[in-house]
């Protein structure tokens, strides 16, 4: 005989039904709250206005993604569609309370990042512009980080080719490095000797250079002594400078004397000038005297002429033509 099964009875303990009701209500509340929260989170209770962004490529744009302004999401992509001219129309719902961020001068960008999704961003440069009207269509600017990759790859490839050529076994760089290595090896060898790298650079000439350097050093020491002596002679107590100063003083005195002499010469010249002036007066008198003498002589001449005319011993004044 089997045990009687716990089949339903008409009444159950009161607390059992209460607990069951409590659990049911809890589930109902949680499910309702979750649905409400998700609907709120998806913006189902917000009044929105529509902005249509026109792009060339809808790659990476998914329904539900955000339109951000300064990093804050202010809209959601509601739909993407292909326009008649082949461009992409991205329909974005912007809550009315956030719509004031969008102005007629706002710029929209669509950027594709290497990590993470595509982002649609809005920039409003002039907040004083009139607000963007509902249903406005705007061109979206695309920036694609991935589009740079092929160019960068080409550059990198060229760079790698250059590097490969540089580092090839028969490349110039390898030869140079080889030479450097041999050089450094020789330096190492020579460093055991006295002159190290100098021997390497100059070979047999190195001792002469060292000798020259020693002589130069000696010369410099001599020149130093010379300069010191010259200094002594020039600037010392009995030096040339002191003598020169004395000579300059004497020259000053001599110049004073010369000035006195010149003043005397000046006086003499003045006297000479006075003498000359007297002489000029005297020469004027001489002119008058000469005129007198000339008059006297003319009279004598006339007298002689008269005598000659009157005198029988006159000469024949006839002129004979040849």
């Amino acid at each position: 005989m089997t045990e009687p099964l716990p089949l339903p009875v008409a009444a159950a303990p009161e607390h059992l039904e209460r607990r069951a009701a409590l659990l049911l209500v809890l589930l109902a509340v949680l499910v309702t709250a979750s649905i409400g929260f998700v609907l709120y989170a998806r913006g189902a209770f917000e009044a929105t206005q529509r902005v249509v962004l026109v792009a060339d490529d809808s790659e990476g744009v998914v329904v539900g993604m955000d339109l951000t302004f300064s990093g804050f999401p202010i809209g959601r992509v509601r739909r993407t569609e292909l326009a008649a001219d082949g461009s992409v129309r991205i329909v974005v719902d912007v809550p009315v309370k956030d719509a004031h961020w969008l102005r007629t001068s706002s710029v929209f960008t669509l950027t594709r990042n290497l990590v993470g999704g595509t982002a649609i961003k809005a920039y409003s440069g002039v907040p004083a512009d009139p607000p963007l009207p509902a249903g406005a269509e705007r061109r979206v600017l695309s920036g694609d980080a991935a589009a740079e990759i092929p160019r960068i790859m080409a550059d990198v490839r060229a760079l790698l080719a250059n590097l490969t050529a540089l580092t090839a076994p028969d490349a110039a760089l390898a030869g140079t490095l080889d030479n450097v290595q041999r050089l450094t090896g020789r330096i190492d060898d020579k460093l055991g000797g006295k002159r190290g790298a100098l021997d390497l650079l100059l070979g047999d000439e190195a001792p002469r250079l060292v000798q020259t350097l020693a002589r130069t050093s000696q010369l410099l020491a001599d020149v130093g002594g010379l300069v010191r002596r010259a200094d002594q002679q020039l600037l010392g107590e009995q030096g040339l400078l002191a003598d020169t100063q004395a000579a300059v003083k004497q020259a000053g005195a001599l110049l004073g004397q010369a000035r006195d002499s010149l003043q005397k010469v000046d006086a003499v010249l003045k006297e000479a000038e006075a003498v000359a002036r007297n002489a000029r007066v005297a020469s004027t008198d001489l002119g008058a005297l000469r005129a007198d003498v000339e008059a006297s002589l003319r009279k004598v001449d006339m007298l002689v002429n008269d005598v000659n005319r009157l005198w029988p011993l006159k000469r024949d004044p006839e002129i004979k033509l040849p």
């Binding site: 089997t2 045990e3 979750s34 990590v115």
Partner: protein, 274 residues
């Protein structure tokens, strides 16, 4: 013929002696699976009919619901909170160290709420509630008590079987809802502290994750998991091959339940990410 009687006929067939031909074994297996599906449909139909929630059938249902959910709820909530805390913290710190902290919360919500919590709730209910219930029913079946009750004109389906399956279903949904809410709250608190100023952005992120398609898959997956862990063990206990005794029936139920849960999970992943 009442549906329950048909189900028992199938059970008798499928509990035939081992050593069958492959075709017959496959046919029996298929009929057994069909019987389980049939039971699931019956349970759902009963769950949706108002008479189930009226006396006298309300009493066993209330008793099984309280039995299934009441002791499990605090412990599972605590466990889910701890696991959520640890996982959220790990994801947040790791994402921060990679400079991807803006994706951390989204990942936490996806991994925890969408994937882990429904599965964990279903498995917890299966292990703590529906498998013991299935064992109970298997024992009654093997003792012939169910047949006796039927022969006395009682209805074991409405009085014993459906309340248990519905209680399991309900417990999975309740635990998933509670743990999901706790995980969402904990993720917010761990990421932003107790400040209310990130609520709007957090809500937006959650709304972003719960797109219509993802939400639909989430609801369907949770419901399917709940059905799988409540109906499959009980159905197998009633309609599985009874040749190996109660232990064999339990193992059979466990295996089928895991298989069903796996199929549901794979279908959910395919729906979400393909």
């Amino acid at each position: 013929m009442p549906p329950a009687a048909a189900a028992y006929d199938v059970a008798m067939l499928s509990s035939a002696a081992p050593g069958l031909s492959l075709g017959r074994a496959l046919r029996l297996r298929w009929r057994s699976a069909w019987a389980v599906l049939n039971l699931g449909a019956l349970v759902l139909a009963l769950g949706l009919s108002p008479s189930t929630y009226r006396r006298p059938w309300r009493v066993p249902l209330a008793a099984q619901v309280v039995r299934a959910a009441w002791p499990l709820l605090p412990w599972f909530t605590l466990l889910a909170a701890i696991v959520s805390l640890v996982l959220t913290r790990i994801v947040l710190v790791t994402a921060q160290s990679y400079g991807l902290s803006q994706y951390a919360l989204e990942m936490v919500v996806r991994v925890l709420v969408l994937e882990l919590i429904p599965l964990t709730a279903a498995l917890a209910v299966a292990l703590r509630v529906t498998l013991p219930m299935a064992a109970e029913l298997a024992q009654w079946r093997l003792q012939g008590a169910l047949d006796d009750a039927r022969s006395r004109g009682q209805d074991p389906l409405r009085g014993l079987i459906a309340p248990r399956a519905l209680a399991g279903l309900f417990a999975v949904l309740l635990l998933a809802a509670v743990a999901g809410t706790v995980a969402l709250v904990l993720a917010y608190v761990l990421a932003h502290g107790l400040s209310p100023w990130a609520l709007e952005r957090y809500a937006r992120m959650v709304g972003h994750v719960f797109s219509p398609a993802v939400s639909l898959v989430f609801v369907l997956k949770t419901a399917a998991l709940a059905l799988a862990v409540s109906v499959v063990p009980i159905g197998t206990a009633l309609h599985g091959r009874a040749g190996g005794g109660q232990g064999a029936l339990e193992v059979q139920g466990l295996t089928r339940m895991f298989l069903a849960a796996l199929l549901v999970e794979v279908a959910g992943l395919a729906g979400n990410y393909l």
